[in-house]
C-alpha cells in the first residue's frame, strides 16, 4: 500500500514538474487588430510552436484602446505581457527587449532599414521592433460621386485647395453630405500640416509646433465653412480618436483623408456600392505633398522571463517568407524591404483594393523626411494629443486659432518638462 502511495506521489510530482516546465515557457502576446492581423499571427505562431516544442504562445486579442492606455501602465508596473503589437513606437522604448544579441542583426538592418530607428530613443540604439504593418496616410475618393457630379478629379500635384474646391463642387451637384472628412487624430493632420509648413522640430531637434498655424487656419476654416465634416472633430472631446470611415462607406463623403489600414475595410464594406480609389496626398503651400508614415510593430519587453524565446518568436515573424505571408493575408503594406521589392500579391483583395494598396505604396517617396522623423520621435504621442485637443477647441470656437497654437506650445513645453 505504501509502495503504491509512493509511486503515485512520484508520478504526480513528475507530472506537476513537467507541467510547470511547460508553463514556464508560456509566452503572452498582446495583440490588437485593424482587420485580421491577430488571427494571422496566431496561425503563423502555431507553426512556431510546432517547431519549438514546449513553447506555448498565447495571443491575447485586446482592443486598440487597451494598447494605448493599459499597456503602458502594465509595463510600468512590471505586469506587462512578453510581447505586444504597439503603435507608440518610440514612446515605450524604455521597456523594449533588445533583440540584437538573439538575432542576425545584419539581416534585420538590411530588411527593415529606416523603420528600426522608429523604435530607438537616445542611447538605446539596438534592434527592438519588427515593423509588422507599414501605413501611410492619404485620401480615399468616392469616384462615383465625382462622376455623377461631372466634376473632374484634380490630377497629380493638386493642392489641398484644389481638392477642397472640387469636393465642394461634387457635393453641390449631388445629394452627398460632406465634401471632405479627416480622422480626428494628430497623426492624420501631420502630413497635411507638413505640406503647409509645419516644422514639428526646433533647431535642437526638440518637438515644436512652429509653422503649424498656417494649416490650423486652413483646417479650422474648412470646418467652419462646411468643407470638412464638422461632426468628426467637433462632436468629441479630449484627444479621443474618431474616424469618418463609416460616413465614406455610406457614400456621404467625397474625399476622406485616412490611411492605408482602411483599405481592407473599404474593400469589404463598400463592395459594389460605389467606385472608390486612393490618390496621393495633396500638396500644400510649403511645396510638400506629404502623407504621414506609421503603423504598428511587434516588440518584446525586457520584463519577460524568456528573452530568448521572445526574440526567436519575433525573428520567426521577421523571416522573409513569414513576413510576406502575413503582409499578403492581412493586406498591409510591407516594411520589409525585400518583401516590398518582390511585390506582394494581397490575398482576397479586389482590384480596387490592390490598386489602393499600390497607390499608397507609390506615395511613400513623397513622404517628407520631417514626417519620418516625427513618426520616430518619442514625444509624438503627446504632440498628437495636444494637436487634437487644441484644434478641436479652435473648431468649436472656444479658442481662436492663434490662442489654440499658443496653448499647444505651452502644453508641449509642460509635457516635455514632465517627461525629462
Amino acid at each position: 500500500m505504501n509502495k503504491k502511495l509512493m509511486r503515485t506521489t512520484a508520478i504526480l510530482a513528475g507530472l506537476s514538474m513537467t507541467a510547470s516546465a511547460v508553463a514556464a515557457q508560456e509566452i503572452r502576446f498582446q495583440c490588437y487588430s485593424d482587420g485580421n492581423e491577430c488571427e494571422v499571427y496566431e496561425d503563423l505562431l502555431s507553426r512556431f510552436e510546432a517547431q519549438n516544442e514546449g513553447v506555448d504562445v498565447i495571443v491575447d486579442v485586446v482592443p486598440y484602446q487597451a494598447i494605448l492606455e493599459n499597456l503602458p501602465v502594465q509595463l510600468a508596473a512590471s505586469t506587462g505581457p512578453d510581447l505586444a503589437k504597439v503603435t507608440d513606437l518610440g514612446g515605450l522604448n524604455e521597456y523594449y527587449l533588445d533583440l540584437t544579441p538573439h538575432v542576425d542583426a545584419s539581416y534585420w538592418e538590411e530588411s527593415f532599414g529606416e523603420t528600426l530607428n522608429w523604435y530607438r530613443v537616445g542611447d538605446r540604439q539596438g534592434i527592438y521592433g519588427l515593423h509588422s504593418q507599414l501605413t501611410i496616410t492619404g485620401p480615399f475618393v468616392n469616384a462615383t460621386l465625382f462622376e455623377q457630379a461631372g466634376v473632374e478629379m484634380p490630377g497629380e500635384g493638386a493642392t489641398w485647395d484644389d481638392w477642397a474646391a472640387a469636393s465642394r463642387a461634387v457635393i453641390e451637384a449631388t445629394d452627398a453630405d460632406f465634401p471632405m472628412a479627416m480622422d480626428r487624430s494628430g497623426h492624420r493632420v501631420a502630413g497635411p500640416a507638413i505640406s503647409y509648413g509645419a516644422k514639428y522640430f526646433d533647431a535642437d531637434g526638440v518637438g515644436s509646433f512652429d509653422g503649424f498655424e498656417t494649416f490650423a487656419e486652413a483646417f479650422v476654416g474648412w470646418n467652419e465653412d462646411g468643407t470638412m465634416a464638422r461632426d468628426v472633430w467637433a462632436s468629441q472631446g479630449g484627444s479621443t480618436y474618431a474616424d469618418a470611415a463609416q460616413e465614406f462607406i455610406n457614400g456621404e463623403v467625397a474625399f476622406y483623408y485616412s490611411g492605408s489600414w482602411q483599405v481592407g475595410r473599404m474593400d469589404e464594406q463598400v463592395g459594389d456600392f460605389f467606385d472608390w480609389q486612393v490618390v496621393g496626398s495633396p500638396c500644400g503651400p510649403a511645396g510638400a505633398c506629404s502623407g504621414m508614415p506609421g503603423g504598428a510593430g511587434i516588440v518584446g519587453f525586457e520584463g519577460t522571463e524568456h528573452p530568448e524565446i521572445v526574440a526567436s518568436i519575433i525573428d520567426f515573424l521577421a523571416a522573409e517568407e513569414n513576413y510576406a505571408e502575413a503582409a499578403a493575408r492581412t493586406r498591409n503594406l510591407p516594411a520589409h524591404l525585400g518583401v516590398a521589392a518582390a511585390g506582394v500579391e494581397f490575398e482576397n483583395a479586389s482590384p480596387a483594393a490592390q490598386a489602393a494598396l499600390n497607390g499608397f505604396a507609390g506615395a511613400l517617396p513623397d513622404v517628407s523626411p520631417v514626417a519620418f522623423a516625427y513618426q520616430g520621435y518619442s514625444g509624438n504621442r503627446a504632440m498628437f494629443g495636444i494637436t487634437v485637443e487644441r484644434l478641436s477647441q479652435a473648431i468649436v470656437g472656444e479658442l481662436s486659432v492663434s490662442d489654440a497654437m499658443d496653448r499647444a506650445a505651452s502644453d508641449l513645453e509642460s509635457a516635455l518638462a514632465e517627461t525629462q
Partner: protein
C-alpha cells in the same frame, strides 16, 4: 442546530479567552474590528494616502520610487489663474473649464432633479391608475448601466439619429445636436436627470408616505386648498428627506463621468468635460500621463465632496435634534 454550534463555540472560546486574558476586555474590541479595519485601510485609507503622495510628485512614471518630489507644485499649477472666472487666463485652462462646466452642470442638474423628482413623487403618491406600473417606469432608467444610457441617447441624438429622422419626417428638419456646445450640454443635463430621477423619486416617495395621514385629514377639515396643503404640510414635513436628496444629488453630480463621457466624450471642444473626466484624461488617457496633476485635482474634488458630506451630516444631526 445548537448541537452543531455549541462545540464550535467551545473551540473558539479557548483562544478568545486567552486573548482576553492577555489584552484585557477593552483591547479585545480591536481584535474584532481588525478584519474590517484591514479592508478599510487597504482599499480606502491607503489609496487616499497614496493619492496625497502622488500629488506631491512629478514626472510620468507610475512607480513612486521613480517620481521626483515636487512639493505643492501640482496644486500651484492648477490654481495659477489671474481670473478664476475666465479659464483662458489660467495656466491649466482645461481644469478650470472642467470646474465651471461641473459647477453649471451640478446647479442645473440638481435643481431639475429635485424639482422633477418631487413632482413625480407627489403624483405617484396620489390615487392614480396603474400607479405600480408608473412607479416602475420612472425607476427603470436607474437600472440601466451608464454606458447603455449614453449609447441609447447617442443613437437618438446623433446626426442621423432617431430624433432627426422624426424631425425630418415632420418637415421641421434635423439638427446636429451633439456638435453644438449649448445643445450638447443641455442634453447632457437632461440625460443625467432622466437616468437618475427614479432613485430620488423613490426616496421622496418613501418620505411622502411617512407623513401621517391625520395631518392631511385635519387640513381637509379646515378646507385647506391642495396648494396650501402642499406648501404648509407636505413641504415642511418632507424637508429632511429633501435635504438628503439634495446632498446625495450634489455629491453624485460632482462625480458625473461615465455616462457623459460615453455620450459626448466631453465635447464639442470641452463643452461637456467635467472634473472627473479631466482627472481621468490627465492621469490615464493622455500622453504623458500626469499622475501628479490628476492626483492633485482629485484631492481638490475630494475636498469639495467632504464639505458636502459634512453639510449632510450637520443637516441630519440638526433634524434629529429637532
Amino acid at each position: 442546530m445548537l448541537h452543531v454550534i455549541s462545540p464550535i463555540m467551545r473551540v473558539i472560546e479557548i483562544p478568545m479567552l486567552a486573548l482576553q486574558r492577555v489584552l484585557g476586555i477593552n483591547k479585545l474590541a480591536w481584535v474584532f474590528l481588525f478584519p474590517n479595519l484591514l479592508l478599510f485601510g487597504l482599499f480606502a485609507f491607503l489609496p487616499v494616502i497614496l493619492n496625497v503622495v502622488y500629488a506631491t510628485t512629478g514626472g510620468d512614471n507610475v512607480l513612486l520610487a521613480d517620481r521626483p518630489y515636487v512639493g505643492p507644485r501640482n496644486f500651484g499649477t492648477l490654481m495659477d489663474c489671474s481670473n478664476y472666472l475666465d479659464p483662458n487666463s489660467c495656466r491649466e485652462d482645461k481644469f478650470w473649464r472642467a470646474v465651471w462646466n461641473t459647477s453649471w452642470f451640478v446647479t442645473l442638474q440638481v435643481g431639475m432633479m429635485v424639482c422633477f423628482s418631487l413632482l413625480t413623487a407627489v403624483i405617484l403618491n396620489g390615487e392614480i391608475r396603474a400607479r405600480g406600473f408608473f412607479r416602475s417606469v420612472f425607476f427603470f432608467p436607474v437600472l440601466l448601466s451608464p454606458v447603455v444610457v449614453a449609447l441609447i441617447w447617442k443613437w437618438i441624438l446623433q446626426r442621423e439619429g432617431v430624433l432627426n429622422a422624426f424631425l425630418d419626417w415632420t418637415g421641421i428638419g434635423g439638427f446636429n445636436w451633439l456638435v453644438d456646445a449649448q445643445w450638447a450640454f443641455g442634453w447632457s443635463v437632461f440625460i443625467s436627470v432622466w437616468a437618475h430621477m427614479g432613485f430620488y423619486t423613490l426616496i421622496l416617495l418613501a418620505g411622502l408616505q411617512a407623513i401621517p395621514r391625520d395631518v392631511y385629514d385635519a387640513a381637509t377639515m379646515d378646507r385647506a386648498s391642495p396648494w396650501r396643503t402642499f406648501r404648509r404640510i407636505t413641504l415642511p414635513l418632507l424637508a429632511p428627506t429633501m435635504l438628503v436628496v439634495l446632498v446625495l444629488a450634489l455629491i453624485k453630480g460632482v462625480q458625473t463621468f461615465d455616462e457623459i463621457y460615453a455620450f459626448t466624450g466631453g465635447g464639442p471642444g470641452t463643452a461637456t468635460t467635467f472634473i472627473i473626466q479631466y482627472i481621468y484624461e490627465e492621469g490615464f488617457a493622455g500622453a504623458p500621463r500626469l499622475f501628479g496633476l490628476a492626483a492633485a485635482a482629485s484631492l481638490l474634488v475630494a475636498l469639495v465632496l467632504i464639505l458636502l458630506t459634512l453639510v449632510q451630516l450637520w443637516a441630519n444631526r440638526k433634524n434629529a435634534n429637532g
